[in-house]
């Protein structure tokens, strides 16, 4: 239905393009050079006035229609129906009405619900027709307005170009809107969470058991939303990942920039970058399928019990994923050290190794540090590997052979399945998300700052 409306509006817009063009040519009796702007621009101008406002209207309408009808529906219910119901129960009632309206009747819905469902259906139909009517009237108004402006002197090109620029500005604002959307939604839901659970509890509590159903009044006192074990687990796994990725990535970068022949470099670099192109869900499965059993078996032969979802397995595989980040960023940083530094060192009689460790690495250190910070932020935010290979139970341990959980694992496990926005369990995921966002953002800003400073040093 909506698809057809949009298609119809686009078709109308295309039609108006032709109309506008014809009208412009007709205005000068076919002597096109007399027009200020080429007929195409007149057409485009009219088409924009027909298409853009009406399509925008439809989109805005769609966004608000649901909320408006829900509100109206609640008002129209017999007084007292919603008394004593909390937010979730009201939502439940609304979705019952909706499903009854859609014809999915389970059991015997109450008369109130049946009546509401009929109203709901009727209003939906009305809203739909109203939307179509309004949209097409707006489109026709646009057509009327724009086509009346067509005359030989009309600067249609300027008009069309202004509209185009406006569209482009709108598109670039989406980046800001996205960030704003992230910040606001995380903040909003997190604040609702902190209404129910004290921030002190969340940031300093040692006990994380969000799956336990929480009754009214026990929320703040229960002590089950202490996120320290979750943060600690995240740090442990990230640490393991970095312990794997930093030496491998850094030594690989050193070898590739300073020792390897051009041919070797040209083959190995893309192979390393392949590691970055593999989806993380694949790494997660790899951890479960190969790495964890191998570690377990190895542990058995040396008599050390290793949990199947140990932090070590998840961290190590995450480290493999991060190798290309470290190696390519270190590679860039080392390559950015000016040739003169190398020459200076070689001319002093330094070996390659001495040149690298004593001159190049210290000089490239800021760049490498920036790269490592970016990689840490990557590790903290990485989700699928840990969801598949790490634990779900939050335990506060520094032993890499035991399972730990991470922020991202908790976000995913809390939100898979039924989501209810008034339940601290769901909201906790947003509080964790906020922490994750802030930490990764801070790391990124810091890293980019360091890297930029470093680049300036040699420019």
């Amino acid at each position: 239905m909506i698809g057809y409306v949009l298609l119809g509006l686009i078709a109308l817009s295309a039609l108006s393009y032709v109309l506008g063009r014809r009208r412009a040519i007709a205005a000068v009796q076919g002597r096109e050079p007399e027009l200020h702007s080429r007929p195409t621009y007149h057409g485009a101008f009219v088409a924009a006035w027909v298409g853009i406002p009406s399509i925008l209207l439809v989109l805005v309408w769609l966004v608000f229609q649901g909320t408006v009808i829900d509100t109206l529906l609640l008002w129209s219910l017999p007084p007292g129906t919603t008394d004593g119901l909390d937010e979730g129960q009201v939502d439940l009632l609304l979705s019952e009405i909706r499903s009854v309206a859609a014809g999915n009747v389970f059991g015997e819905p109450s008369l109130v619900v049946q009546a509401a469902a009929e109203r709901y259906q009727a209003w939906q139909t009305i809203a739909r027709y109203a939307m179509v009517a309004t949209a097409f009237s707006v489109a026709l108004l646009g057509l009327l307005f724009a086509s009346r402006r067509i005359n030989p002197q009309f600067r249609a090109r300027h008009g069309a170009e202004r509209i185009l620029t406006g569209l482009m500005i709108a598109c670039s604002l989406i980046a800001i809107l996205t960030t704003l959307g992230i910040v606001l939604s995380l903040l909003f839901e997190a604040l609702r969470f902190f209404d129910r659970v004290s921030p002190l509890e969340f940031f300093f509590g040692l006990n994380w058991e969000p799956q336990i159903p929480i009754r009214e009044g026990q929320v703040t006192g229960g002590g089950s939303f202490g996120a320290i074990p979750v943060f600690a687990g995240t740090l442990l796994i990230s640490l393991i990942a970095m312990l794997v990725a930093i030496p491998i990535g850094l030594f690989a970068a050193i070898y590739l920039t300073e020792y390897a022949h051009a041919k070797v470099r040209a083959t190995i670099k893309p192979v390393l970058e392949l590691l970055a192109g593999i989806p993380t869900v694949v790494y997660g499965f790899f951890a479960v399928l190969t790495v964890a059993p191998a570690l377990r078996e190895f542990g058995e032969t040396i008599g050390v019990p290793i949990a199947p979802n140990s932090a070590l397995a998840a961290g190590a595989v995450m480290g493999v994923m991060i190798i290309p980040f470290i190696s390519s960023l270190s590679d860039d940083a080392i390559a950015a050290v000016p040739r003169a530094m190398r020459d200076g060192s070689y001319a002093m009689g330094a070996t390659r190794g001495e040149t690298i460790t004593k001159v190049l690495l210290p000089a490239a250190l800021p760049g490498i540090m920036g790269g490592i910070l970016l990689a840490v932020s990557r590790a903290i935010g990485e989700t699928m590997i840990v969801v598949m290979a790490a634990g779900i139970i939050a335990s506060l341990t520094a032993n890499p052979l035991e399972p730990v959980t991470t922020v991202t694992v908790q976000i995913v496990t809390l939100l898979i399945g039924d989501v209810e926005f008034d339940n601290p369990k769901t909201l906790a995921a947003f509080a964790l998300g906020l922490v994750l966002f802030v930490v990764t953002l801070a790391l990124n800003v810091l890293a980019l700052h360091i890297v930029r400073k470093y680049r300036e040093q040699y420019e």
Binding site: L62, C171, T179, S185, L186, A252, A260, F286, A429, N444
Partner: protein, 549 residues
């Protein structure tokens, strides 16, 4: 001047030929080689790990590209299937009858039902679908290839064995400990345990005949030999008739009651085999002997074969691994990517053109730039939270729908496309712009007519790479519920619940059936195949249109 001269009168350089100098140089070169070796080791590790990853995926995923099937001759009995209403026939009975030739003689009803479990549980529906499509087959015999159930598929592929070790590792250890203590002996042609038994008068009455819990006494006396073992698996060592040995002994000599005597207990068959140096085997508990017999008959009659598994591509998901396919996941991913492309491609290009060509240098554009760079590094799960809170929670868009998935993915792809587009625009030399401006084109015309077409290959390359990233994204799709169970492709649409390739991989990886391990690897291979194709297209595009200005 004189100062300088004193300084200049210093001895010539150190003696480079001295032993100390030579040793030092050797040491320095060794350090150099060490560093080089670390580099080679690091690269070997990274490449090796990639190799292990690919190998383990290929080796586990490869078997899923074929599927064990049985060519079943089915008589479509008109008494069970009404030709006017074939959909409601008793197809379960048809399948059971078609299997009759393979059922061993004298099988009980339960065993007959066991035999039907060789086939996938979907078998009646496969037959039904066929008969509904071909109503004229009622009354005739049709031969249909029907997938076998997961354990038999794995058996036929050699992934799981028909027989497993009868004894656990610890049971073998216990037995060996008893052997070293000399308790195990051959007595009367049977392997037996010679155990000291305290015939407790409180537990055994003299009779005659003697009575009491002989089995418990036998167990306790065995336990006394291995006091540190707390494992009931130990008692499996005693044969079923072991208590009788004790009973007989007491019957022979009732005076033993209240004394300690040596009793010879026969050991159970697997342990006897172990004592003879064999490794005892039992049937894999996932099979029954009737099933195996029937399956062996099928193999012998040549009706079992292993064709290419087209269902992997053309079936949607299923609870049964032998029937599960990727069609639903691929369709869902396609819809989501389509939405993602339709949104992010035009928006990304428009934003990039504005920022690169028109934007004045001010606070706002700075803010936009910072935002784009930071968005590229926001963890994907956060985009999932955004989608959940805004698209689902606030806008009330349908959960699990590819539309929402595509919208979330497009927000993640936008920075990639914008950055790639800006780079491509920057690479177009100013001479082109100047030439066009010089003949009186407006700035918009210059960009739309000249710069953009020249930058298009670069933009497309960046877009394809962005799409490839989007195709592999899992976490945001999980959060908006795009991991629905989709048993049929027909119901899918842009607003209907869907799944996607990566979320399907996640769901399958979580499934306990052995068959899903292989399917998961196969699905990953399919996903990687798509990614490889997309990247090859991007690279080819870049090379084809690479221009040296």
């Amino acid at each position: 001047m004189s100062d300088a001269q004193t300084i200049n009168r210093q001895p010539r350089a150190a003696n480079w030929a001295s032993d100390a100098a030579r040793r030092r140089v050797r040491r320095r070169y060794a350090a150099d080689r060490r560093l080089q070796a670390y580099g080679i080791i690091a690269i070997a590790l990274a490449v090796g790990l990639l190799g292990i990853l690919v190998t383990s995926l290929v080796s586990t995923g490869f078997p899923a590209f074929v599927q064990t099937k049985v060519d079943l001759a089915i008589y479509v009995d008109p008494s069970k299937v009404d030709p006017k209403d074939p959909a409601n026939g008793n197809f379960r009975a048809l399948v059971r009858e078609a299997l009759a030739p393979f059922v061993p003689e004298g099988a009980t009803d339960k065993q007959k039902i066991d035999v039907t479990k060789i086939l996938t549980s979907d078998a009646p529906y496969i037959v039904r679908d066929y008969v509904v499509d071909h109503p004229d087959t009622v009354g005739k015999t049709v031969t249909l290839p029907i997938a076998v159930s997961d354990p038999y598929d794995q058996l036929q592929k050699g992934v799981i064995p028909k027989e497993v070790d009868a004894l656990s590792w610890s049971q073998v250890r216990y037995f060996e400990r008893l052997q070293t203590r000399g308790v195990v002996a051959e007595e009367g042609g049977r392997t037996s345990l010679k155990l000291e038994v305290y015939v407790d008068p409180a537990r055994i009455a003299a009779g005659p005949p003697p009575s009491g819990d002989f089995a418990a006494v036998a167990r306790d006396s065995l336990q006394a030999y291995l006091p540190d073992v707390h494992d009931t698996a130990l008692f499996a060592m005693l044969a079923d008739d072991a208590p009788d040995a004790l009973a007989n002994r007491v019957a022979e000599d009732p005076s033993l009651i209240g004394k300690t005597a040596q009793v010879i207990f026969p050991v159970a068959k697997p342990f006897a085999q172990l004592a003879n140096g064999e490794s005892p085997k039992v049937l894999n508990p996932r099979f029954t002997s009737t099933q195996i017999e029937a399956f062996d008959t099928m193999v012998a009659k040549g009706v079992v074969h292993m064709p290419f598994n087209w269902e992997l591509f053309f079936n949607a998901d299923s609870r049964f691994p032998e029937r599960a396919g990727l069609a639903g996941a691929v369709t869902g991913s396609f819809y989501a990517l389509l939405v993602c492309f339709l949104l992010s491609f035009p928006i990304g290009i428009a934003a990039a053109i504005y920022l690169e060509e028109f934007a004045p240098k001010n606070r706002l554009t700075d803010l936009i730039e910072v935002n784009i760079n930071n968005l590229a590094a926001v963890p994907s799960v956060v985009f999932g939270l955004l989608g959940l809170a805004v698209f689902l929670g606030y806008f009330g868009l349908p959960r699990s729908a590819p539309l929402v998935g595509g919208m979330v993915l497009s927000l993640m792809t936008l920075p990639t496309i914008i950055i790639a587009t800006r780079a491509a625009l920057k690479a177009v030399p100013p001479s082109i712009r100047e030439a066009a401006l010089g003949i009186g084109a407006s700035k918009h015309q210059v960009i739309l007519h000249h710069v953009l077409p020249l930058a298009m290959p670069g933009i497309l390359t960046g877009t394809i790479i962005g799409m490839a990233q989007a195709l592999g994204e899992t976490a945001p799709l999980l959060l908006i519920g795009m991991n629905a169970f989709i048993p049929s492709v027909e119901s899918m649409g842009i607003l209907e619940p869907a799944t996607s390739l990566p979320t399907q991989i996640y769901s399958w990886a979580d499934s306990p059936e052995r068959g899903f391990v292989s399917r998961t690897s196969a699905a990953i291979l399919v996903l990687l195949g798509f990614l490889v194709v997309m990247n090859i297209v991007a690279i080819t595009l870049r090379q084809m249109f690479e221009r040296k200005w």
